[in-house]
Symmetry: C2
Subunit: 333 residues, 2 copies
Amino acid sequence: MSEFRLDIVSDRWVIVAPERAARPTDFPVEKRRARDGFCPFCEGNEDKTPPELFAFREPGTEPDMPGWRVRVVPNRFPAVRPDVPAASREEGLFRSIAGAGIHEVIIETPRHALSTNEMDAAGLAEALLACRLRMAAAAANDRRLAYAALFKNAGAAAGASLGHMHSQLIASPVVPHAVLTEIEGVRRYRAEEDMCVFCKTAEEEGRIGDRVVAESNLFLAVAPYASRFPFETWILPRRHAARFEEEDDETLGDLAQVMYTVLGRLDTVLGLPAYNTVLHTAPFAMRDPDDYHWHIEIIPRMTGVAGYEWGTGVHINPVPPESAAEALRGEKS
Amino acid sequence: MSEFRLDIVSDRWVIVAPERAARPTDFPVEKRRARDGFCPFCEGNEDKTPPELFAFREPGTEPDMPGWRVRVVPNRFPAVRPDVPAASREEGLFRSIAGAGIHEVIIETPRHALSTNEMDAAGLAEALLACRLRMAAAAANDRRLAYAALFKNAGAAAGASLGHMHSQLIASPVVPHAVLTEIEGVRRYRAEEDMCVFCKTAEEEGRIGDRVVAESNLFLAVAPYASRFPFETWILPRRHAARFEEEDDETLGDLAQVMYTVLGRLDTVLGLPAYNTVLHTAPFAMRDPDDYHWHIEIIPRMTGVAGYEWGTGVHINPVPPESAAEALRGEKS
């Protein structure tokens, strides 16, 4: 029997409908490609990307040459650009802001790794350090920017044009609706219960255990109660913190371990599914650190999104998060 | 140069980024299949669906036999079921409602039409009449239900498992977030401007003309200013009306003409793209008809949705709605 479940932070319903998993079209796992042809992100091909903005490199190696471990370059097809003059227009119903911003690619490894399973946790930790650094730089260098979105597309079905593991950063002059909605939810819960709803979620989910995918001292990976997608997994800091970019090296090292475990299990258990990871962190100008709790959402892209979902925002999820968590916990040590 | 644009009803930004259309992966149009194998929706195969709930039939023909023009059957893999006892639970963070509801399929034509171009406007009008009737029945027969979502999935990439033209109805005990958000936007605009924001949009877009795709006396089809998807098109009643299911036959006949034109042009101009259509109408219990303005959203599924979109709700759209409307206006008479 199916069930409506509420995400109380975003005030959004989902339908968990396990019966529909019988539908043959529900699980054509869109596997990631085994090999690209030529890859501009591989070590040795540095001249095939725009000049690098930052890299962790071996001592004595030059920018845009081999010898790097993590490399950050501008996106070749940017959605926003830093050199755009600030301009906004408002004419009745129609409001716009010029596409100013930063769109960068964080290449996570010099090797042609198509899965975190071909990397190691230390490499992932350095990639997270590079992301933190570029987010802080975006906030500091361009006062017009209001929010930095960090995300990863893995596999063509998740929007990736290249298989080589990489993340992207888009910093924009607008604060996204999804984050504003969550901030509202955090404030609403605090007004009622005098505590952070994400802190409470980490505590409760850790205690219940059914939806826990992995954990460490500092983080809990959980298949959220109102999962929109099969095998959706959130990584929550156990300790309250509004901003990813203010976390210290040790915390990011611990996060890398948990992400390495979770992404590795996804790839092993589901057989290289397409997925997205997205960081939710506080807007640059948010004053009260009580108002948000940063976290990472991992969204495997195994089921399509149809008219009902686009029309209503209510996702139909054929895999109960309790079953997803059990499957993800069971495999690989 | 790209541009952020605001949908002032849903308070949601998009990035219109025409430069990105240069990216080769942006337009692998996911064409709909030419032919299914066996089709349970075709006339003559009535015994391959659950028994019909309603049909427009030739005089003297029996239920579940040939002779119908539009046929409504229960969904074989329902997301919700009518025979589920009402039950809701609230335990701290976790709130659920049993999956009670109605999930029906409206088969729009007895012929194996894979495009509205293989139907006629009169057939589409009868399909809309059947939808109206089933929505009214859902509201009247099960007092637990709060909202009826009517939508169409065309093409596998849009979530359809069968190519034969059909719509679906899901009536649920919850009001979807997307509709609540729009109601909030309608109220906000009315508080400021003392008029309906959708009425104003139809009026302004009709006057400006750049984004108009098609029009009739009663409806305006427009590529919305803050389109999330390439070739997204909304059909707005020009006259204020909160509820689709209260429109009369003449109005639905006029709507069918406009939908027939717009969907036909989409198929002709873009070459049978996958698409969704979704009706947005007032929740059953909404009291004040000023609070909403029903409309139909048509969403071609030509571009994937990647991590940035899932993470932020901000869609990157490579085709400005002005170009989309021009292309859709230009073809087919």
